[in-house]
Symmetry: none
Subunit: 253 residues, 2 copies
């Protein structure tokens, strides 16, 4: 009766050394020893080990695990509930990371290189002040930006594909209008600007005319965006910016 170190190690998928170590530091000492000094693990030892491995998997230091498990106020069910909670949080975190990776892929294929802040927000080290300061400066208001962040965080890969495909089509239409000689304040160009605005509103945030104008200005100001448009036709960035302004003016804003 009882399990030997080797048996436990195979069952739990840990090395014998690990079990020895847990015994040494008093995290998990086998309930009994044979006359010859062999460790014998009981069923409740196994349950404890299960919890140990669980918390370890989630990155808890062993010392802390000992404290958690030795707390007399928590029973098995409480542990399970806590474990479930921790898992859920972890899953959410990883899903956010996955979304961030998707955005990075998108940026990469568009040839945009991320700002340092964007680079590391993947890791969720929430740094509100600086980031919001920059967003404020760049977007002229944090509400739209936050809304964008919230929405795009939920987007799947397919969503991104549809999003960028739509954007690309609008951009190409702009390019055709531009090379075709249509002025930026022509019906066609302004309609395209309006389409662009609707596109953003649908996917990202409530894009007002004012915000849209700011966005257009930023397209010409920020070379990372300009780099996206200029290859299609030199001067296209400025053209889009002008069309956006004309459209905003037409709407009476």
């Amino acid at each position: 009766m009882g399990y030997s170190v080797g048996q436990v190690s195979r069952l739990a998928g840990v090395t014998v050394r690990t079990l020895h170590h847990y015994d040494e530091i008093g995290l998990l000492s086998p309930g009994q020893r044979t006359a010859s000094g062999y460790r014998r693990y009981t069923d409740s030892d196994l349950e404890r080990l299960q919890h140990v491995l669980f918390y370890r998997e989630l990155g808890f230091p062993l010392e802390e695990i000992a404290v958690i498990l030795d707390d007399p106020g928590t029973d098995t069910l409480t542990h399970l509930r806590r474990q479930h909670e921790l898992l859920s949080r972890r899953i959410d975190r990883l899903q956010e990371m996955a979304a961030a990776v998707e955005r990075a892929m998108e940026a990469n294929t568009m040839g945009i290189s991320l700002t340092p802040e964007e680079r590391f927000e993947i890791f969720g080290d929430f740094r509100p002040e600086e980031h919001e300061a920059e967003a404020e400066e760049r977007w002229g208001g944090t509400e739209a930006f936050e809304q964008s962040r919230r929405r795009t965080a939920k987007m799947t890969k397919d969503d991104w594909k549809r999003f960028t495909d739509e954007a690309a089509r609008t951009t190409e239409a702009f390019a055709r209008a531009f090379t075709g000689g249509l002025p930026a304040d022509s019906e066609v160009a302004m309609d395209l600007a309006e389409e662009h605005r609707a596109h953003l509103t649908r996917w990202c945030y409530d894009c007002t005319y004012e915000i849209h104008r700011g966005l257009g200005d930023m397209y010409v100001a920020d070379p990372r965006f300009a780099a996206n448009y200029e290859p299609l036709a030199p001067g296209l960035t400025q053209y889009i910016r002008d069309a956006i302004h004309a459209n905003a003016g037409r709407a009476g804003a």
Copy 2:
């Protein structure tokens, strides 16, 4: 221009000491130093750091990360794709764990105590018995099989991970050689076969050229192995088998 250690540490959410460490071990050395010896990190240093932190987050040892990042065959987009893949797998795993916790909670409230096997199947991603029964039948209790069983029995979860990751890299290299048009008896392919053999010897058993040849034959014969290789490139299984034979022939066996 460039970022100081302090700036980078704040940006990335790591300590200065960590950056020093990465410099020491050559994982991430700043692009420049000032005249007075201060570290100056460039934008591409930041990108590298981002990838380092990502793989670290997923539990890769730093040394392995260096190998991954220094592989000239992989560009940023490939890394991002791989990261996304790894994240997805990780999420699946955690969701399985969450489901297992739910089952445990149910069992607990019903007053049922789990069997040892049930206890740890939460962590167990590998079920060796089926595979081993199969191997037994195939290999009929040969020396190599026994050796393999002994060694793999000692392997921890992380060992398995490293083992499969290594194997995956070799396979990918094979796929690149194959799609790149290199013949199965080319230097490159034979070297990969030798790498594969060394890999097996390191992890499982003393893989002689003769055993290796048999293994290669089995890969094409057994659809479960073929299913592993064919998705990467149709015909890859046969290619690997041929490379193994060529390599064995080169070694004079």
